[in-house]
Amino acid sequence: MTTMGKTNEQDMLAIAQSAITVAKSAGAKDASARAYRVRDVSLDYRDGKVEKISESTTRGLNVQLYVDGRFSSVSTSDLRPEALKTFITDSIAVSRAIAPDPFRALPDAELYKGQSSANLQLEDPKYFGVTADEGRKAAKAAHDAARGVKGSDAILSVTSSFSSNLVENWMVTSNGFSGANRGTSFFVSAQVSAKDGDGRRPEEFDYAGSRFWGSVPDISSIGASAAQRTLRRLGAKKGQTEAMTVIVDNRAAGRLLGMLGVALQASSLQQKRSFLEGKLGQQVVSPLISITDDPLVPTAFGSRKFDNEGIAAKPRAVFADGVLKSYYVDTYYGRKLKMEPTSGSISNLSWKLGAKSQKELLAGAKDALLITSFIGGNSNSGTGDFSVGVVGFRVRNGEIAEPLSEMNLSGNHLEFWKKLAALGNDPFPYSAMRSPTLVFENVSVAGT
């Protein structure tokens, strides 16, 4: 329905290049620029009709300036040449007011070399053929499937949605890097709420996505699953406070791993905010955990050939048999810590998987808590203490039993991750964390 706007690919690369030229001529020693353009389409469908359609194409420019040993990072959506020139020139003036920082520098140009030549398959060539109307049909199919499940009389409302995007980046640095990437994604989701006996209106959702429209899994199954997930929540009660076996659903488990991720950042190490500082080479989690940061997984959502500094992306072991093998180190904190940069951000995680499905893991549990989602909570990356709200089910004799709510899971990461007893064979495909189902033993859960 919309067109792409007037800028074309050549324009955006030229804008990034001209930002470098302007920055250098205005007195910056070095600069790095990233121009981006994102096209988003989203559609919500609720209770039989379209609720909202939104389409947009947005673009902008980020520039990092290295001026007289000083550093600033600026961004703008106003790409008119004269406005951009004034913006960069004046940003350089502001940079000169702050303190010099000897650790600020562009990455060593050697690190730009060695980009993978693999085809990562991140872009659907048929992207522009997937119209908002196709999205409406998908959302309607998910909606209708949710309304069609057994027990649907209890359903109060179903909202399903379709979203797609095309993200394009053009990056240039003054020490020789030039790169571009494009990626598409498509997601369909359904959210269902139902009336409970006590006035509660529990809601649950399900979703699926892919970089290729043709690979989005069966849409009606998403709607049906969202409805079934919601109906299973009816009658949820608070459970007892106790230490027990906890099984974390693969969709939820990424949240737990994200907490570890903060402590793996070089910035956390350098700022004395990491409980993993000084633990390289040590056993810090269960020996069952082997995780590689793998930026080169075809079609995955976190895949990339270079990171946001331009550093060529390579697979790298983070944990091997429970031993901490590497941190996430960017150029700046690497220089502060005298560590080699790896990459400052997570791409995709590849786990050494277990042999069993979630169903098989549940079947082996006599008495356990299955956590299907987390609510609120936080984690202290400095001490490793964490406490999060949990939503889930009691598991009895291998079967999912009554729904549980209003409970909390608390612990310290350095103890908690050693309690991991099993992993599933089911990496969650719709997030870069790609976590399988995780089973922990003897974990504190607070309820009544």
């Binding site: 359609i53 600033s72 008119r80 913006f87 502001v94 949820a236 936080n378 209003e406």
Partner: protein, 517 residues
């Protein structure tokens, strides 16, 4: 610019010589307009500099209604923010962000079409309008023939010196002073991080009923975090302050209080324990504990959830939900508060809304869509993160009115429980009503006295149940000055919150569980 009548006629942020001469980033978009001279700018003040005229707005609204929508609005925004960070003793990072764009919304019943663009040209606006128009499929409707500027807009964030007139050196001296004071406060302080932001956001909203209004909304935040070491152990904590204010907000007194609070609340963690797990009475300290209201009732009272019948409060208006001494307010009228607004992002007046009055549920928080659905006046809660997003009902400043009890009496009434002082975040599931908040600092209460400090614990409860269980309310209401940001459907908006000292007779504390049997 001088010959542009819009600038002299009505300016929200004035464009005087001082501003034009300034090197601050916020003026960098004061370039000659691409569209100058395309028509009269009556009613358009600030945005005239970008070539926006009434004529352009009228034609955009006409395109927006060309497929038969019931209503359309345009939302222009120019957002400029500057940030300085201090780490390892020096202000070593400056960031600036400029966003300029416009969103066009079309309503057909309660259906919404939306498009936005950064391309502020007649073509760009028309494209966005036609995208939004497609929500309807019928004959074209008329746009407004003329616009009426909103009268008597309040001035809730008066600013003496605009941020763009503040030289970087002035900000640097505030940051450097704060860093020094924090290190001096205690030798155990090993790391100090500061983040300082000033933001100027100017918006214009005009709609198909002919309303037009502009508002300039300043915001500043200061974040201070500390890492301390004692006998080989480390603890960290942070504090932030935020206001719609100018640099005068950072008085020596306020900065000193920030330092002493964050240092005290870090050092106390060396002696802190995680509380026992399970249900117990909880006393919420006056101030930031307003997070309880935000999660337990505020979100559930946003009328979009109720219109869709998915909130746990959907059938509770007019019903008793709490003790008679419990009254809960959401408003945007506190001068300089982070959650203050002169006008909401749909152009509606912002006042005071009673969510709960004398224990009875009284009103939802409405945007235009929900107000129409319920046949009530909008409450001025239609807010959005920016031009990239549709407005929806959101909180502003949410707090509880003072009650009949004394704070000391409330603590003394608890035999075994916890006292919650500082918080980092919270979340709620709207339908089931379950909500959480994360406690950074607090104390155990034993036999009516605060004893051991506690830390890092999540608390979980159910909104309506917890409202019923609020059985004591202090007379010491305090609105927190923290930089709270509320997220909903991926949109972040600034909010305030407050609370008197309050007792909840029972709620689940996520401490370390003891194995039973």
């Amino acid at each position: 610019m001088a010959e542009n009548p819009g600038l002299t006629r009505r300016t929200v942020i004035g464009a005087g010589a001082a501003a034009l001469a300034s090197v601050a980033v916020s003026d960098l978009l004061n370039v000659s307009s691409l569209l100058a001279g395309t028509g009269p700018t009556n009613g358009v003040g600030y945005f005239a500099r970008f070539g926006v005229t009434e004529q352009l707005i009228r034609s955009t609204l006409s395109s927006a209604l060309s497929k038969g929508g019931d209503y359309a609005d345009v939302f222009f925004q120019h957002r400029v923010s500057n940030n300085l960070s201090l780490e390892d003793g020096i202000v070593n990072r400056a960031t600036a962000n400029v966003a300029l764009g416009v969103g066009v919304r079309v309503l057909k019943g309660d259906q919404t079409g939306y498009g936005f663009t950064e391309d502020i040209t007649p073509d760009g606006l028309k494209r966005a309008a036609l995208t939004a128009a497609a929500i309807a499929q019928g004959p074209s409707r008329e746009g407004p023939a003329r616009f009426k500027v909103m009268e008597a807009k309040p001035n809730r964030y008066p600013v003496k010196v605009r941020w763009e007139d503040i030289r970087p050196q002035q900000k640097l001296s505030v940051l450097n002073g704060l860093n020094e004071k924090t290190f001096k406060a205690d030798p155990r302080v090993k790391k100090v991080n500061l983040g300082f932001t000033d933001q100027g956001s100017v918006m214009l909203v005009a709609d198909s009923t002919g309303r037009i209004v502009e508002d300039a909304q300043p915001m500043t935040t200061m974040y201070l975090s500390v890492v301390a070491e004692q006998e080989g152990r480390r603890e960290n904590n942070s504090i932030n302050r935020a206001a719609r204010a100018d640099i005068g907000y950072y008085t020596a007194d306020r900065l000193d209080r920030m330092v002493s609070e964050v240092v005290n609340k870090t050092m106390v963690l060396f002696d802190a324990v995680q509380p026992p797990a399970g249900e117990m009475p909880v006393v919420m300290a006056a101030g930031a504990a307003g997070i309880l209201l935000h999660e337990a009732i505020g979100h559930g009272m946003e009328a979009d959830f109720n219109r869709k019948n998915v909130s746990i409060y959907s059938d509770k208006i007019g019903k008793p939900v709490a003790k008679p001494f419990v009254s809960i307010v959401d408003e945007g009228t506190q001068e300089g508060a982070r959650g203050a607004l002169n006008v909401d992002d749909e152009g509606n007046a912002v006042g005071r809304t009673m969510l709960v009055e004398g224990g009875t549920l009284t009103s939802y928080l409405h945007d235009s869509i929900s107000a129409k659905h319920y046949g009530v006046k909008p409450t001025g809660n239609g807010r959005r993160q920016g031009y990239e997003h549709v407005p929806m009902p959101r909180m502003r400043s949410t707090y509880m009115l003072p009650g009949p009890h004394k704070p000391d009496e409330i603590v003394a009434s608890v035999k075994k429980g916890i006292f919650c002082e500082l918080f980092s975040n919270g979340q709620v599931n709207i339908g089931a009503g379950d909500f959480t908040f994360y406690v950074k600092n607090g104390y155990l209460i034993e036999d009516g006295k605060l004893t051991k400090p506690i830390k890092d614990v999540n608390i979980i409860g159910n909104g309506p149940k917890v409202l019923e269980l609020i059985d004591m309310v202090g007379d010491d209401l305090k609105i927190d000055e923290g930089g709270w940001t509320c997220g909903k459907d991926g949109q972040m908006v600034p909010v305030s919150q407050g609370l008197p000292t309050v007792r909840v007779s029972s709620i689940t504390v996520g401490g370390r569980a003891e194995k039973k049997g």
